[in-house]
Symmetry: C2
Subunit: 429 residues, 2 copies
């Protein structure tokens, strides 16, 4: 039985119960959310990785995009990135490889990861067709769906499928004359394919077949927003919203067949539009879990896009986004290295946590209070242990030794924290 | 004549006209804003540094706090930090030194800086009393005001004065039993002083004398929020709001005497309270320019507090805050080094810019569109030149060379940008 099927009959699968326990949320509440499609449990019924939940009342999750490219395809480095992302606290990872031996890399990543793994099977189909010496435009619908099935069979927990760009939506995009046009790789393949073949997007046309595959493995579909804006100038344009409208219909069709579906979102969004873009997804798609790529709130920050994404991600998650894709400092400049991966995860975990405090997620604020209590008591070891990234906090502190070990070099002997403790003691407190 | 006096007579001083030009805002509009106290022009009538404006419709500004401590007091390093902060784009700096020869450091910083400089003269008074061998509690009101006058005479453009903590407000704070109590150094001095002397805060009691000093040099008063929260748990508590209420009265008294006054704000603030805390200041203090310290949106991010501050700063500035104080990655752990200063400035400039787009500040979005246009055309040199920190962007790109120089190693040959250009050409565009 599928997770959603069970939930609709009022039963919690083992995975669902485990997620409810992790999140400190009542099982019945989670069952109802999953039954309605407003929460999703990421898992694959052939894998033994720990399942992960997304939805209202649950912790905001962070995903780390990994994967090789034609310029950099070392399996060892990929596995190092998997370890680094998970050690930094990523809740999920994606293998977006397009370089090297994709089957080997995918299986190794799936074996290595302890958190749910996602992919974009269309990349595989595209690389395969190229390897077979035929142009990508000669891929068939079977090639595309076959790649999805291969990934699901290997144990993928969620797959991104760009079903929302119909020929009509693509025409919207053409007319829009966007500043950045299409910036999704999967989408660019499909736009080229549709333009050449003059046929409907097979991932849309054969959506029922996709749902069959998803049902076989209980895999969650992530409905990709191929027309996400790639520049602030393109945010919330008719092309993007037209695609989202199609996605809303596909969410509903997935639910009819007990397939869990989550929706992918932008991208590049000006700060004042971030919250409303989340609200729009939630209302259009009947509360389906929302995954956003950042979003980044300015285009001018190459080298600092992890910060631009933290701003957008925090505001998005506070407005209801459930799942944040990290952005690394290397975004728009190069494939991230291991350190970039780590920094990206921490930056977005910070954003997710700030949002969880704002959303009043169970247990979120307690962490801050614990750390601040230790800070007030000048318990440095405890402050560092409780820090988001203890290694980094320790390195900062160790690099600059105060004369008085109880203090730090910022204020030295004029430490307000210690002074106030003395003042209160003088007041007889 | 004072800047505000002139503005009230409908005239623009040279400094005001220069600021209006820099900001691309009509002079008459800025004159009216300054006349009402809703905008301020930071300057000192004895200095020749470039004046800087704060207020609605103007660019959000970023301040970098510098200064020695008893643990680290190298003048050379301070000057290096001044240069680094300004090179990174800081709109103002503060010399908050408490270690070494304060007079020498202050004058050297004032001479070196091309942007407005601020200080907290109370630190100087406290250090002086300690140097003279008397306890800080034995400082007199004359000592405190004398330090303000010394700083103004040396050319300081703005001074932070903790006038808002009356004995009554301090009593609020004592009763509040906050998690982090008082975290402002200046405030901690005053709390100790009031607790020991059982007298009113001289900076409040002798506010008219302070206004005389400010009038002499046309210096802007920054009304310090000594009771800003030092932990999320203390945000928006009665002590903080009681102080803000006193500050509102002091803003009004400053305006009666044509003294420009801006208000200092938190601190540690949960994300969902950031916008409303700005709105509260704007309504309570009749639109006085608002300077916020970050704010940081979680307590758990030592080592990443610049990111926590970017999130809070972006949201605060979008809600109307005018002036963001940077927070560096070293915050809460050690005195920032030169690199920390640089990273703090860039992180908060990013936040300020994201907010300026949201607030529709003249010219803000054009920067993003220019960069994205270059990105779409794969003009890498131009993308890097237009980046917030070109050196950093270039270093990322140079560290990982793509096989095809037109692309980057992120997507390699599967670059969506290039593919779409080809698709559009195939479509006859």
């Amino acid at each position: 039985m599928l997770t959603m099927e069970e939930a609709r009959q009022g039963r919690a699968t083992e995975a669902l119960a485990a997620v409810a326990g992790d999140e400190n949320i009542a099982v019945e509440k989670l069952v109802a959310l999953v039954a309605s499609g407003k929460a999703a449990i990421l898992l694959n019924n052939r894998s033994t990785r720990k399942p992960m939940g997304l939805g209202p009342g649950l912790r905001t999750k962070v995903n780390a995009n990994l994967g090789t490219s034609s310029d950099a395809s070392s399996l060892d480095e990929e596995l190092e990135k998997v370890d680094a992302a998970i050690a930094a606290g990523a809740d999920a990872i994606m293998d977006l490889s397009t370089g090297g031996d994709l089957d080997t890399i995918r299986r190794a990543v799936l074996e290595r990861s302890t958190v749910p793994v996602g992919s974009v099977p269309l990349y595989q189909a595209a690389v395969r067709s190229r390897t077979e010496g035929k142009g990508m435009v000669h891929m068939t619908g079977d090639d595309m769906l076959g790649a999805v099935e291969d990934h699901a069979r290997d144990g993928m927990d969620f797959v991104t499928v760009h079903c929302g760009v119909t020929r009509e939506v693509a025409e919207h995009c053409r007319r829009a004359r966007r500043l950045a046009d299409v910036v999704s790789r999967g989408e660019a393949f499909l736009m080229e394919w549709m333009s050449y073949n003059k046929q409907e997007n097979p991932l849309y046309e054969r959506y029922d077949d996709l749902l069959d595959i998803a049902r076989e493995y209980d895999v969650t579909l992530r409905l990709g927003d191929g027309l996400r804006p790639g520049a602030l100038a393109d945010a919330n344009d008719p092309a993007q919203i037209a695609e989202l409208t199609v996605i809303a219909e596909l969410v509903s069709r997935a639910r009819e067949r007990d397939v869990q579906a989550i929706v992918e979102g932008p991208g590049h969004v000006p700060l004042h539009l971030v919250a409303s873009s989340v609200e729009l997804e939630k209302s259009l798609c009947d509360g389906a879990p929302f995954y956003v790529l950042g979003p980044i709130v300015t285009d001018v920050a190459p080298g600092y896009d992890h910060i631009a994404a933290s701003i957008g991600g925090a505001v998005a998650a506070a407005a209801g986004a459930d799942f944040l894709c990290y952005v690394t400092p290397a975004e728009h400049l190069r494939l991230p290295d291991v350190d970039d991966v780590r920094e990206g995860v921490y930056a977005l975990r910070l954003a997710a946590h700030a949002a969880d405090i704002a959303k009043n997620v169970v247990g979120a604020r307690e962490w801050d209070d614990e750390l601040s209590t230790a800070r007030k008591a000048l318990q440095w070891d405890r402050v560092i242990d409780l820090s988001l990234n203890s290694d980094k906090a320790r390195a900062f502190r160790d690099a600059s030794s105060p004369a008085d070990e109880e203090l730090c070099t910022m204020c030295g002997e004029f430490c307000a924290v210690r002074k106030m403790t003395n003042v209160r003691e003088g007041e007889g407190e």
